[in-house]
């Protein structure tokens, strides 16, 4: 028996109504004979029969219902002897032909795409939102109301994607970073400046912030940088006693012939020696950036300067290794004075390649400093004290400084640090060469 189904009569035809039959059960039909008329929303079309045979049964009567293509319409008994052609298996209506998906019925209550998108943006779960629209449909207003508390809580900072990434990497709190970019946009430079210049904020609009605001912001900046340093940088510590007898004797002799304005402090000696020692161990001088050490040709010595109202800054003396002692003293004095009156330049704040702290001032004998990211080492000098030393086996009392080095184990190890301290010691024994 041959199933006669509603044929597809066009690329965009899915359904049609059966208008009328042109044959009745018992009629014989021939190939190509028009046996029915159907109507789509575009036109009335004749339907051909492809087989020779006798109409057995008209399964469906003409009517208004819109029948999907493939619906069984009639059955035709092939004539005896007529060799029934292997008509291809006509897929049952439900089993959709590849490429012909049956359209899903619209589900009520599911919010429209734009509303779903808004909900997604505001982190609102539409399932838990009561729709106030027609038939319970969820509207944009519903989503906004549901998101109210959400919006209130998180004050979104206007920062560039790169700034956001850097803030994530360095732990800088975007909320407190002053914005210098386009229309109040926090840019990478702002984040770097914030994170770099710990402890003191750079380019702080000094005039505008009152002292309290300044030190409070600085305190927080120092806290964050030190926390970041401790968390990120695997420190190792080395210490060494350095006999300063020859150095200080030479310095006093020098100062005796110099007016007060030309006087040189021991700190200048220590800085110059440090700078020259770094030439022998360059991998202590540079920055840790993007998971890699980037050595610096120039030696920009960060000098830790304590501020009278508390807090500490470590601006850089540029190219310290190339300065004469007088130049070193002059730039040290200039740096200290400007630091203590908040007039530092951002370049000084943002690019020291290593920092030196304490410089033999009052306070503890031995300092164990914390490296300032992204630097990879820090040198500490304790208080200069008179201590018994052995000179050619004979006891003597010499002024001695306890020099310490904290290094970043990702870049160097104890051996390299030791070489540096030895070089420092050797250089300080020939002050006239500094």
């Amino acid at each position: 028996m041959i199933d006669f189904v509603l044929p597809s009569l066009g690329a965009d035809m899915d359904v049609a109504k059966l208008n009328c039959w042109l044959v009745k059960p018992g009629d014989t039909v021939h190939k190509g004979q028009i046996i029915a008329e159907v109507e789509t929303d575009k036109a009335v079309l004749e339907v051909e029969c492809w087989d020779e045979g006798v109409v057995e049964e008209l399964v469906l009567a003409p009517g208004p219902t819109r029948l999907p293509v493939g619906t069984l319409l009639a059955r035709i008994r092939p004539l005896e002897g007529a060799q029934p052609r292997s008509s291809p298996k006509v897929p049952a209506v439900e089993e959709a032909v590849a490429g012909q998906p049956t359209r899903p019925a619209p589900r009520h209550g599911v919010p429209s795409p734009p509303v779903r998108h808004l909900a997604h943006q505001l982190g609102v779960d539409t399932a838990r939102v009561a729709g106030s629209g027609p038939a319970g449909e969820i509207t944009r207003e519903d989503v906004r109301r549901a998101a109210e508390p959400v919006i209130g809580r998180e004050q979104r900072v206007k920062a560039s994607p790169l700034a956001r990434r850097l803030a994530r990497e360095t732990g800088v709190d975007l909320g407190i970073v002053p914005a210098s970019g386009l229309a109040g946009l926090v840019t990478a430079k702002d984040v770097r400046a914030m994170e770099q210049v710990t402890p003191a904020p750079t380019d702080l609009p000094v005039e505008t912030t009152e002292p309290e605001g300044r030190s409070e912001t600085m305190r927080r900046a120092i806290a964050r940088s030190m926390a970041h340093s401790k968390r990120e940088i695997p420190h190792y510590y080395l210490a060494n006693h350095i006999d300063l007898d020859r150095a200080l004797r030479w310095l006093t002799a020098q100062n005796e012939e110099r007016p007060i304005s030309g006087r040189i402090l021991p700190a200048a000696l220590l800085l110059k020696a440090t700078a020259l020692a770094l030439r022998e161990t360059p991998d202590l001088n540079g920055h840790w950036v993007d998971d890699g050490f980037r050595p610096s040709d120039a030696v920009h010595l960060g000098v830790a300067i304590s501020l009278r109202e508390g807090g500490l800054v470590a601006p850089a003396i540029h190219d310290a290794d190339r300065l004469s002692l007088d130049e070193m003293m002059a730039s040290l004095r200039d740096l200290v004075n400007r630091a203590r009156s908040w007039r530092l330049r951002s370049s000084e704040m943002s690019d020291p390649t290593i920092t030196v702290t304490n410089l033999g001032e009052r306070g503890v004998e031995t300092a164990f400093p914390v490296i300032i990211p992204p630097q990879v080492a820090i040198v500490g000098f304790g208080r200069v004290v008179d201590m018994p030393v052995a000179i050619d086996g004979q006891p003597a009392v010499h002024p001695v400084v306890h020099a310490t080095l904290a290094g970043d184990h990702r870049v160097t190890d104890g051996h390299r640090g030791g070489l540096f301290l030895d070089a420092l010691d050797r250089l300080l024994q020939e002050p006239e060469a500094l």
Binding site: E256, P259, I260, R263, S306, E309, R333, E361
Partner: protein, 81 residues
């Protein structure tokens, strides 16, 4: 320059370096660097300030005379002549 003028100059210069210091509370005879937490740079700047204000030269060997206010005043009176 008499004692009073010397003392006034000394505290003027000191005020630039340690503005929060109240002259009345300073003990004239004890070590200034201890009392006022002056580091070697502050101390040097103080003497330089005095030198610039009074023209009195302070050679290296006399630096220790400036550890106290009294010492400083005395030195200034003698050397400002």
């Amino acid at each position: 320059m008499n004692k009073e003028e010397a003392r006034q100059t000394i505290f003027e210069v000191l005020g630039e370096i340690a503005p929060e210091v109240d002259p009345a509370t300073v003990d004239d005879s004890s070590d200034l660097t201890e009392q006022l937490d002056l580091d070697s740079m502050d101390y040097l700047n103080w003497m330089l300030g005095i030198n610039q204000a009074t023209g009195v030269e302070i050679p290296q060997r006399d630096v220790s005379r400036f550890l106290t206010i009294d010492g400083a005043v005395e030195y200034l009176v003698i050397h400002s002549g």
